[in-house]
């Protein structure tokens, strides 16, 4: 049975300037596999991911013919039921640890929060689990990091903390929204390797959001290509080079090849008709 099933998902914002349709009829099925979502900035990737958690703030609105997680109807679930899913069942690694960790709370307190508040663990137990989670993301000095505040961590370190925090309750589905886009190139690979290893080992489903098509193809089994709120192409990662859609081909061509001939990057070819 599929873990997540989304049919005709729409996310729209009623703004003063009129209705903004961020996601316009996205459908996909996800098992315990790794699904990539790619597309240029503003194509609706983040909103798709957050809609699954029903974490889109007003004036944003979520509509879908069907959105079910593990047999549970997410569109009908009460806020309380959604809260029970968030964390232990579905988690999300956000883009920039500089903004996504609470600046005035110690890292340790943020890591232990779910364990203390939800699972009602004692301080000691929660502390040990948090330390173990930090070790799992290859942080060498977990005791010190627990006592640190987010601004005292580097970007790479912050994102490892984020990953550790989201993986503590062992969710069935992890949504990673551009988890390395805000990091230095040198640490991107490291953080990705850690994330990849953990997701594989624990056999969880993954939605990996990125604007980097090649990266997504390396990580995922299947790729959705989004453009202006719509999925314009869906393909298996190994078939990437056979992409038919001109937008996907455009995304592929946009990427510079290391060691390749130095040519000016071709502009991304866009056509409004693709997204009607």
């Amino acid at each position: 049975m599929s873990l997540l099933s989304v049919k005709n998902l729409r996310v729209s914002f009623d703004t003063e300037a009129g209705l903004v349709e961020a996601v316009r009829g996205v459908s996909f099925e996800l098992g315990r596999e790794r699904l990539g979502i790619v597309g240029e900035s503003g194509s609706g990737k983040t909103m798709t991911g957050r809609a699954v958690l029903r974490l889109i703030r007003p004036p944003g609105r979520i509509e879908a013919d069907r959105m079910a997680f593990d047999g549970q109807d997410l569109m009908r679930a009460t806020e309380r039921e959604m809260r029970a899913l968030r964390g232990p069942r579905i988690a999300m690694v956000m883009q920039d640890p500089k903004y996504s960790l609470n600046p005035v709370m110690k890292v340790g307190a943020q890591l232990m929060e779910g364990l203390r508040q939800r699972d009602r663990l004692s301080r000691m137990e929660a502390h040990d689990k948090a330390i173990a989670a930090l070790e799992a993301v290859q942080i060498r000095d977990p005791g010190r990091v627990m006592e640190a505040y987010p601004h005292e961590l580097s970007g790479g370190m912050g994102q490892r903390v984020m990953i550790a925090m989201m993986l503590i309750p062992n969710p069935d589905l992890l949504i990673a929204d551009e988890p390395t886009s805000a990091l230095d190139v040198t640490v991107q690979a490291e953080v990705l390797a850690i994330l990849d290893g953990l997701v594989r080992n624990r056999g969880m489903g993954l939605i990996f959001i990125s604007h980097d098509l090649r990266l997504v193809a390396r990580f995922c089994d299947r790729v959705l290509v989004m453009y202006k709120g719509k999925v314009v192409e869906e393909l298996a990662a190994q078939d990437l080079m056979q992409a038919k859609h001109p937008y996907t081909q455009g995304l592929l061509n946009c990427l510079p090849r290391i060691g390749g001939p130095r040519q000016p990057l071709p502009g991304l070819d866009r056509n409004a008709d693709w997204a009607v």
Binding site: R83, G114, Q117, H151
Partner: protein
């Protein structure tokens, strides 16, 4: 060697304390400098205001000598600073009492009123602001906005007079002007040890609950009025700070972790809201401690505001200067306090 010294927490603390003390001293002297200059600039002759304008030339010369007015300015300032550091702000011209003794009587009245008003303002304004921020556009938000707007736009004296008329005059629920009923005024003077000068505290310490209740009935209306004004400001600021925090990514993180909204707002967002809110509350408290002249006048409240105003009207420069210095010190003190609190809540401000 010097490295280990610099790293020692004790040395660091001592260094920081010395730094704070030095900056306090400098600010204080700066404050004295400003009041000193003001006293020289105003067209009030200190000698004439003491002796009256029928004094003889000889009397005037003698008084000038006594006040040190023949000394060069820098020396006068030196004497002024030296005396001020010892708590000597001169003699009140009207009463011939030391200014410091008068202020010690008037300031507690203001302190009591301002503190109670600020407690009201925070206790009501913060939850109101949070409520408004979490449901923007809702009826709750509209009510908070309306109540705040009224606090901004209604003249204080009008609100005060109407309050007195209604709650004291018509309904008789509260005490009238003054800090106590006339009968209790004497009793307080003679029967209660005045430890703080604040009636609520002194009567409570003395176990005189009858007097305490009477003091409450007198302070409740002015404190409620000032508290309302402070609430209007604090709720508006809280609302905007909270709205800003709720839009931040770390809030989404907390929700992703499945934290209940109560915790997201009151723990995650509130701790961040407190950072700017400390300054807002401190400023509002300071402005009340300055003495709310209109309110004090309407409610016959013998506080710092009316003290300074009366002194000004009577050309009583030593009293004006003393009062101004106290106001300045209140600002310095609250500034220091909010600095400390600020560092407590915001790790990024600690260095």
């Amino acid at each position: 060697m010097s490295d280990t010294l610099a790293a020692s927490p004790l040395t660091r603390t001592v260094k920081r304390l010395i730094g704070v003390a030095a900056s306090l001293l400098f600010t204080f002297i700066g404050l004295l400098f400003v009041t000193f200059i003001i006293a020289r600039i105003v067209p009030i002759d200190p000698v004439l205001s003491i002796l009256g304008d029928r004094a003889t030339d000889a009397q005037i010369a003698a008084e000038r000598l006594r006040l040190g007015l023949d000394e060069p300015l820098w020396k006068q300032f030196g004497i002024y600073v030296w005396q001020a550091l010892q708590g000597d702000f001169g003699i009140s011209i009207r009463t011939r009492e030391p200014v410091i003794a008068e202020i010690a009587r008037f300031f507690p009245a203001t302190l009591e009123l301002a503190t109670l008003a600020t407690i009201f303002g925070v206790a009501l304004g913060v939850p109101a602001g949070v409520l408004a921020a979490t449901k923007p556009g809702s009826w709750a938000d509209q009510i908070v906005r309306l109540v705040g707007l009224m606090g901004y736009s209604m003249p204080v004296f009008w609100l005060g007079l109407m309050g007195l008329l209604l709650f004291y005059g018509v309904l008789g629920w509260v005490g009238g002007p003054g800090r106590l009923d006339a009968a209790y005024d004497m009793m307080f003077e003679f029967e209660v040890t005045q430890r703080s000068g604040m009636i609520l505290i002194d009567t409570a310490l003395a176990g005189r609950w009858d007097m305490f209740a009477n003091a409450i009935s007198h302070i409740i209306l002015p404190a409620g009025l000032l508290g309302y004004l402070s609430m209007a400001y604090i709720s508006r600021m809280t609302r905007s700070f909270m709205m800003n925090e709720l839009g931040q990514e770390y809030i989404t993180t907390a929700r992703v972790k499945g934290m209940p909204e109560r915790r997201v707002i009151w723990v995650h967002a509130m701790r961040n809201v407190m950072v700017p809110l400390i300054t807002v509350v401190a400023l509002s408290y300071a402005s009340l401690l300055e003495g709310a002249v209109l309110t004090e006048t309407i409610f016959g409240w013998p506080g710092l505001g009316s003290y300074i105003t009366d002194a000004l009207m009577a050309n009583n420069m030593p009293a004006v200067m003393g009062g101004t210095i106290v106001v300045g010190m209140v600002y310095i003190g609250l500034n220091l306090l909010s600095d400390i609190l600020y560092k407590l809540v915001d790790p990024r401000a600690r260095t």
